[in-house]
């Protein structure tokens, strides 16, 4: 590298830029050390750990009951999924059956949560691309409606603590279902509006087409999951490939783009847009099929216990495969926790995708992978 620059008649110095953790566009506290040749990235390194909170250790020092409340802070945009992963692992261990109504409610709220997560991604991604003032407000507007619904059943807008081991916390009122149904009716129109503004916008196409291509092999090597993987051509979606809960009863499609050379950032965008529509369809079906019945099968008490043994389960979170591995020794506290976070694996591949792209594309690429920093650092 050194000989390169000196032998050239006009040498340009390489610049090392520290992007983050206080940079406005690094989605939290990610620090990226970039080596730049002019505006071209020659080397990129993500420095993580600024938000490390020892979630696994915390879990081992709290009771099951307490840890349920903590866990949706791991990935604050899709708390339902982390709760669900924990609950499912514990249920696998404990052997407790979940009532069917609870399963339906779980699917409804987690698909709602998938929509909110994708909507937030959509808004912030457009901010990353420079549409600062207009468009980003529209997804947030729809997200607010869903958050209101969350607030009604779970008590809070992001830290739900709704899905519990053995069921769900609260049965929503009939009015709640009506409102949700109204939302699912109007939401596809809103998605049409987003698409009218963004999808075929020539500047947006220029910024995203052919940028940050992720070949399938590379993605598989790094363990990338979720929409980023599906945009590259693999149809891994745990809802279909390893069906859990009531997903086998539902009719839905896993969107995959057949891209032999690998998906670019636009593919990841369009895939998430399609998932927005698909999740709405799933919610509609669930609303039609939801039976009456109990919602909880395990007593939620402070000293709740789970049978001894090892359990693993994974759910398909908006960012990919979210796995939870637990060892219980039969006491009221879990013995060992291990989380398999999708963001961690997805972030790892970003460094490879960045090399050779200009500064402006860093955010286009990094944003398109949809990384949540607390999920990376745990």
């Amino acid at each position: 590298m050194v000989s390169d620059t000196t032998s050239r008649p006009l040498k340009t110095d390489e610049m090392i830029i520290n992007m983050g953790p206080q940079h406005p566009a690094t989605h939290g506290v990610l620090r990226m050390v970039l080596t730049l040749d002019g505006e071209i990235v020659t080397h990129a390194e993500a420095v993580i750990g600024h938000l490390h909170r020892a979630q696994e250790w915390q879990g081992q020092n709290r009771t099951w009951f307490q840890y349920q409340a903590l866990i949706d802070r791991v990935d604050y945009l899709s708390g339902m999924f982390t709760s669900w992963a924990l609950a499912r692992s514990a249920e696998v261990l404990d052997g407790c059956e979940v009532p069917e109504r609870a399963e339906f409610l779980r699917v409804i709220v987690s698909e709602m949560n998938r929509i909110t997560s994708h909507l937030l991604w959509l808004g912030t991604y457009l901010i990353d691309l420079g549409a600062m003032f207009g468009f980003p407000f529209y997804p947030f507007r729809e997200r607010e409606k869903l958050l209101d619904l969350f607030e009604e059943i779970a008590g809070q807008r992001m830290m739900f603590n709704y899905i519990r081991i053995g069921g769900v916390q609260r049965d929503p009122k009939p009015d709640w279902f009506t409102r949700l149904r109204a939302f699912t009716k109007e939401f596809p129109d809103r998605v049409d509006e987003y698409e009218a503004i963004v999808t075929e916008n020539p500047i947006f196409l220029k910024r995203t087409k052919g940028i940050g291509i992720l070949p399938l092999e590379l993605a598989m090597d790094y363990g990338v999951t979720g929409p980023s993987l599906r945009a590259s051509g693999n149809n891994l979606d745990l809802r279909k490939t390893k069906p859990y809960s009531i997903y086998p009863k539902l009719e839905f499609k896993v969107h995959t783009l057949d891209k032999p050379e690998g998906g670019d950032t636009w593919d990841r965008y369009i895939l998430r847009i399609r998932e927005l529509r698909e999740s709405t369809e799933i919610i509609k079906q669930c609303l039609d099929m939801i039976p009456e019945g109990p919602i909880m099968n395990k007593k939620q008490i402070a000293g709740m216990r789970v049978k001894a043994g090892e359990g693993f389960s994974a759910v398909e979170s908006p960012r990919g495969t979210l796995g939870c591995y637990i060892i219980s020794d039969g006491s009221d506290k879990p013995f060992r926790f291990r989380w398999r976070n999708p963001s961690f694996c997805n972030l790892a591949v970003v460094g490879e995708m960045l090399v050779g792209s200009p500064i402006a594309d860093i955010m286009a690429i990094f944003g398109s992978v949809d990384v949540i920093l607390p999920d990376v650092d745990r």
């Binding site: 610049m15 990353d128 691309l129 207009g134 916008n201 910024r207 860093i362 955010m363």
Partner: protein, 481 residues
């Protein structure tokens, strides 16, 4: 009917209020400095010193009015932008300070003025301070020639009327780039440096289509003088440069002849200089007038159409180049928030930042007013004069004149020509600003290399082609100029 009617109403109220708040002081100050004080000084038998003072005051009127205008206008534009963006994003916008948020930007300005003025360690302090000044100064003296153009060449502003007006404005508009590079370099910050370099690269590339489009308009008009260009376009929308640079003027005249409206005898330079064509003694019929303006029958009609198309392209080119020149979205790369934190003004705070902010909005206004003067006929009424004459406006005008005549004749308080010119200019300019805000609310940002590609590979060839086409098409049609 419209669920958002109250908010739209509030925005309109804010616009009306602020336009009054902008133009009342400007007009009062310029009247006081340019008319009242000299009049008082020259009463009776004035001494020479008094005459000299009066003359100096008259000469200083344009610059004083601009100095009064710029800060108030920038304040309004910030609020206008924020409220309009709020409308687009189904929000309310600033509504706390003052009624409906009228004083929001005033409060913000006061806050900025009282903030600490920080010079970062390792920065070149002199250059760091000089940069905002250089950025701001051209927006004051660059706007001066426009004053004469938008006030119907009012006698007070004639002093700023330069024979190379548009060129002067362009030269002034190219200066802020130096300031951006200076700010970026002297801040001792890598993001700032990259922002400054981007600003320079972008401005140099986009100045070419910008200048070429304006040069083409000057070619249509046959003059570099903005006042001349503005005056040429008098007489309704068909005479404006947007309608083919006067390619429809013949149609306008022909309609007037058909309607039997008293028309001014037309004297075009082409006719007088062309020896083959004998000057026609006032054509009387529709066909004759058409033939006089479109001498080559079918070819002329086609070229008139081409001219109209070209002038729309030129306006588009100009607006694109201007957007890039003043760093508006989608060309706001020098201060790309998600990439370069805030680009060249990352390290600025307090009043220096306020000056950068102020100058950006002033530049937006100036760019819009250039577009107004060059393409939309300056202070001209869009309704053609013959149509106005048909309308029953006579009694209204008379009664208004009777009321206002003491002010007009005695105190020179209102000049009807200037007033209506100013009204239309304001309307057109803020329409352009509204379009800029709408674009800001919709489009994402370009990438720097795409920006360069777009500038050099699309806009520059397009502007050259438009230039050539206009040169040839113009021969076949008798335009103004």
């Amino acid at each position: 009917m419209i669920p958002n009617a109250p908010e739209i109403g509030k925005l309109l109220f804010i616009i009306c209020f602020w336009i009054c708040a902008i133009f009342l002081p400007v007009w009062l100050v310029s009247w006081a400095v340019g008319v009242l004080l000299p009049m008082l000084l020259e009463q009776g038998s004035p001494s020479m010193a008094m005459t000299a003072t009066a003359e100096t005051l008259r000469a200083l009127t344009p610059i004083i009015s601009v100095m009064v205008f710029i800060p108030i206008n920038a304040m309004f534009m910030v609020l206008y932008e924020r409220r309009a963006l709020a409308l687009f994003t189904v929000r309310l916008g600033p509504n706390r300070v003052g009624p409906d948020g009228l004083l929001q930007t005033a409060a913000d300005a006061v806050k900025l003025l009282f903030k600490e003025d920080i010079t970062p360690r390792g920065a070149d302090a002199f250059m760091f301070t000089l940069a905002p000044i250089i950025f701001f100064a051209p927006s004051i003296f660059g706007a001066l020639p426009l004053l004469a153009a938008i006030t119907n060449n009012h006698s007070l502003y004639q002093i700023t009327n330069l024979p190379t007006g548009i060129f002067y404005i362009l030269a002034a508009a190219s200066l802020p780039v130096v300031a951006l590079v200076m700010a970026g370099w002297s801040s001792n910050n890598k993001y700032s440096l990259v922002g400054g370099l981007r600003a320079a690269a972008q401005a140099i590339s986009y100045e070419i289509p910008l200048v070429l489009s304006l040069v083409t308009v000057c070619l249509m008009a046959g003059s570099l003088d903005v006042v001349k260009i503005a005056q040429q376009q008098d007489g309704g929308i068909l005479n404006w440069n947007i309608a083919g640079g006067g390619a429809l003027r013949g149609l306008d005249k022909a309609i007037q002849t058909k309607l039997g409206v008293e028309t001014t005898p037309l004297i075009t330079p082409q006719q007088s200089s062309d020896p083959t064509e004998t000057p026609v003694a006032a054509p009387t019929t529709f066909e004759e007038v058409i033939h006089q303006y479109y001498p080559f029958e079918f070819l002329s009609y086609i070229s008139a159409g081409v001219l109209i198309f070209c002038s729309f392209i030129l306006l588009g080119l100009y607006l694109t180049g201007a957007c890039a020149e003043i760093n508006r979205i989608p060309f706001d790369l020098p201060e790309a928030e998600s990439e370069l934190v805030s680009g060249y003004n990352t390290e600025y705070s307090g009043i220096k930042f306020a000056i950068f902010f102020l100058a950006e909005f002033t530049n937006l206004f100036i760019v819009s007013s250039i577009a107004t003067v060059m393409f939309l006929g300056g202070g001209d009424n869009p309704i053609p004069q013959w149509l106005l004459n048909k309308m029953p406006l006579e009694p209204i005008q008379k009664s208004l004149g009777a009321i206002l005549s003491p002010f007009i004749n005695g105190l020179h308080l209102i000049d009807p020509d200037t007033f209506w010119a100013a009204f239309w200019v304001i309307f057109k300019v803020y329409t352009f600003v509204f379009i800029a805000i709408l674009i800001r609310g919709t489009l994402p940002r370009f990438r720097i290399d795409q920006l360069m590609d777009f500038g050099w590979k699309r806009l520059v060839p397009l502007s050259l082609i438009a230039f050539l086409v206009v040169v040839f098409a113009r021969v076949l049609v008798v335009c103004h100029g």
